[in-house]
Symmetry: C2
Subunit: 210 residues, 2 copies
């Protein structure tokens, strides 16, 4: 879990955007947005002027990197996401547990930082919300679907289940515990394995299961 546990700016990696000096300006701008949010600023009320002033750069420095405010804000959100790990090729059970651990770590990290607020604010702005769904959530869902489908092909998962529904069953508890029941125990290190094993075995008593 080393790669998943390390907080990082994964989205920016592998995408060189110029000289180190440029990267420093970029980080200053991203940091400025996060500080403004931490102080209770809203995405709607945030202006490129205000962000530039907080970052100590000119507006042109921002527009050289992002075409508009929305693109900058999406980039800020993506940079606060944990980078998704490369999954090892084990049994489906083990790979799913590893993925759940990634979601658990991401949810815990989100609780520590202002990301939850940022994400909530994104949801309140339909255009930003859609960008987040398309560029962050949809690719993640596609990867999970692929892993589940592979498990079905190998005979480790029943083939008559909708892979997307299974994805929702796996991710759902992490989301409810982030948004609805923050005290319900995302800290539990056995949570991921318990979710996967409960789904594999089913909740009906074994006697009536066959």
């Amino acid at each position: 879990m080393t790669s998943a546990a390390a907080a990082g700016t994964g989205a920016a990696e592998g995408t060189p955007r110029g000289r180190p000096r440029s990267e420093a300006a970029e980080l200053a701008i991203v940091g400025a947005v996060l500080r403004l949010l931490d102080r209770g600023g809203s995405l709607g009320g945030m202006s490129v002027e205000g962000i530039a002033a907080e970052a100590g750069v000119g507006k042109a420095t921002i527009y050289r990197r992002w075409p508009n405010k929305e693109a900058l804000l999406l980039d800020v959100l993506v940079r606060t996401e944990l980078p998704e790990p490369e999954y090892v090729d084990g049994t489906v059970r083990d790979v799913l547990v590893e993925i759940m651990e990634f979601f658990r770590m991401a949810a815990l990290a989100r609780r520590e930082r202002s990301t939850l607020t940022l994400l909530d604010q994104f949801r309140a702005v339909p255009e930003l919300h859609q960008r987040y769904l398309d560029q962050v959530i949809a690719p993640r869902r596609a990867r999970l679907r692929k892993l589940i489908t592979r498990g079905m092909e190998r005979g480790e998962i029943r083939a008559d289940i909708d892979p997307d529904l299974l994805g929702d069953l796996l991710v759902g508890p992490m989301l409810t515990r982030t948004l609805l029941h923050p005290d319900a125990g995302l800290d539990d290190p056995t949570l991921s394995a318990t979710i996967v094993d409960t789904l594999l075995q089913g909740i009906a008593p074994v006697a009536s299961g066959t």
Copy 2:
């Protein structure tokens, strides 16, 4: 599902708050908040003055009913929730499917109205978010836990499962499909039964399940 399917103002029912004239003023005030939100207003930027002006009442009319803006906003949110049905006393499987149908209908109704935005805005204001969790979500979770525990006592659900985790597994897919995958099919009338049956049977192939 008649009671669950009917959109209503359940929170206000059974709580007489004065004469009909008073109720009309109350509805005008609640309607004013919803209109302000529909127009893109934020909870933080909303003032009692602004709400009173939109509703065509005086500030005193608002303060006679709600001690402060937060109490009014929570009441607006509660009124946009569907009333939870009284569950029939059938098999745990049937009762759980009925509960899931309630959550599905609630999620669909939320998608039609501005409630999602309202809920998002609540999340962005910690104090309002906490009130919503305490007064709306926690009692709902407690009811679900009670039903699951009863199913365990009757031998219909494995007794070695954490009832709260099972609650999260049930509700999770409705939440992911509301927030993360709005196109993934909350409209499917078989979704609730599929979720419950998948959880009961488990996702491991039957041959390796015993």
